[in-house]
Symmetry: C2
Subunit: 339 residues, 2 copies
DNA sequence: TTGTACGCGTTATCAG
DNA sequence: CTGATAACGCGTACAA
């Protein structure tokens, strides 16, 4: 309790030389006992590990990184920490990497190109072993800067032609097509879109347009939403939509938050789903399943995406190259009561 | 594309000696120009910073941490990454620390004591500059281990008598009392509780019992929920409650996820809120505001909690000690249609 | 299988 | 205000 100096002033942790001294071996043997156990004689190794255990010795990661040039930190950037799906992907990635001794450092880019640039500068300083994004990097300058880091880079959540290094994604354009096809199959003709006009939202809209054209649907409105979209935006957008055009039969929202807002607004106005209006979201959000009458939503298995990304990163960090540096995960439509 | 070795093999970043050489000074002067600019002559400093800028030099954090004993990593552990409020707190903390050059490393404890212990071991290895938890550490052994790290430790989200080092919290017991008082004020008598029987849930129940006794309410049921509680648990719990006792007038749910589930179930059963049943949650979740008729919820400003925690941590890392190492944030009740 | 010698890149210390 | 020197703790390279 009452230490020499002050509250919180702990004893200096033991160093490798101390363990070596206690075990009667040289420091390098301790190092080997921990990193390459098979290269140390059984008896010695056991004695060393016992002492390590007893003293609570832990390798200093800074010294290690400095000497070996290998950090055990993997940086993960989410576009938005509030997103259940992004967090799931990061968790999946962590599940794979942490048992292997890597630590995930999580940052947020907030869908902002400015932040993305700042973040890349901070990566230069941090020198992680690898980087993962829940998204793709679009600015060519940032792509170059990332490539120049010389470490494995994982992009996700989209399906560009030329990822920086590795990719586990899906086609946002396909998701829009899928939405249009679903509406067509359900017999809707006059449809609308609510979403952002940049990034993934734009791609989903592109696909939706293509699918609509192919299926002979009329896109009677495209509402754009700025910044990080929220439920309130969804409510408002649906309100706008209905006030200007009473003939809309179905709405595709670029994400489930918007769709949830739209669904709630529709219910508030006393509309019956899907008869008065059908609503389709994107993202497989938990909440989507629960809200009566249940939001139909297109999406992927985000945790699995994260796991795949993690194992590919791991492979690259170990010097290998995944046979498939670009992988696609499957899009599924979970049909509920709203469509 | 086709580098010497493999994709992603970037050029080695410049080191401090290189900058020193270009500027015609010694390495230590470069170091000072970056860390203690006021100690370097104006002209020299400008020249050095210009070169740093031009070359994209970034200090190697491992070498720095090794030599100075000061890491720029702050570890933040959330009980559950899926929690909007915990993430908000972590974001708030990051907002304060990141501009000062610190990096947040985020981990998850999953409400599991086993994981908590593992995590503390990994802290020994990581050697962060400080640690923050969205929660308090209860196991005495873990508390000791954390104290032994000799770094600033921040606990949050509760209000124990003896935090390990620093605390920004609120009384979970008070939140339960507040709930009971609210029900009493609204004229309800027969009330119930849904929540976990450990950790914060238990405290909220304790306060709820006290408040109920003081106000003369009858707690006619206490339903316990295991593990990480979900909306489905809330639905089921409300169903259970109603099937065994039709006389319940109001339910306090230990968190908004449970409350949301309960609210949805009540609506599904055609009950009117708050007349047939009043529902009160905890956590100020976004969704709570939107779901008709709007969930009444008790809670705090989590982002602000995080910011306060961040600035206290900062103060401690700089060698100071906050005048108030234990702070309380205010609990508020946001009244909506459900009560 | 084990050990010796050295260096990773930076900053503390102290002298100028 | 600036620089020389050494040291942080570990792991690589090589030798035994």
């Amino acid at each position: 309790m009452a230490g020499e100096d002050a509250v919180g002033e702990g004893a200096a942790p033991p160093r490798i030389v101390e363990i070596a001294r206690l075990a009667g071996v040289s420091p390098i043997t301790v190092s080997r006992a921990l990193r390459q156990p098979e290269k140390v004689a059984e008896a010695k190794r056991r004695r060393i590990l016992e002492i390590v255990e007893r003293t609570g010795y832990a390798t200093n990661p800074h010294a290690r990184a400095l000497r070996s040039g290998q950090s055990n930190i993997v940086a993960a950037f989410v576009s938005n920490l509030q997103s259940e799906q992004f967090c799931l992907a990061v968790q999946g990635c962590g599940e794979v990497l942490e048992p292997q001794g890597y630590q995930l450092m999580i940052g947020q880019t907030s869908y902002s190109y400015a932040k993305e640039t700042t973040m890349i500068q901070s990566l230069r300083e941090m020198r992680p072993a690898a980087v993962m994004f829940t998204g793709v990097i679009e600015i060519e300058e940032n792509r170059r800067a990332l490539r120049a880091l010389g470490i494995p880079i994982m992009e996700t959540w989209a399906y560009p032609r030329d990822p920086i290094d590795m990719l586990v994604g899906f086609s946002n354009i396909d998701s829009g097509r899928l939405a249009a096809e679903h509406f067509a199959a359900r017999g809707h003709r006059r449809v609308a879109f609510i979403g952002r006009r940049s990034g993934r939202g734009a791609l989903r809209l592109t696909g939706f347009r293509e699918g609509a054209r192919a299926a002979g649907l009329d896109i009677v409105a495209e509402l754009s939403v700025d910044g990080v979209s929220s439920m309130v935006d969804g409510r408002r957008a649906l309100g706008d939509l209905l006030s200007r055009n009473a003939q809309i039969e179905a709405v595709f929202c670029a994400n489930d938050l918007l769709a949830t807002g739209a669904l709630l607004e529709a219910r508030r106005l006393g509309m019956r789903l899907p008869d008065d209006i059908a609503i389709l979201g994107f993202g497989h959000n938990d909440i989507a399943e629960e809200l009566p009458p249940g939001l139909t939503t297109i999406g992927i298995d985000s945790r699995d995406l994260g796991r795949q990304a993690g194992s590919m990163i791991l492979q690259r960090m170990r010097g290998g190259m995944p046979s498939e540096p670009i992988r696609a995960v499957e899009l599924t439509l979970a049909r509920r009561g709203s469509s």
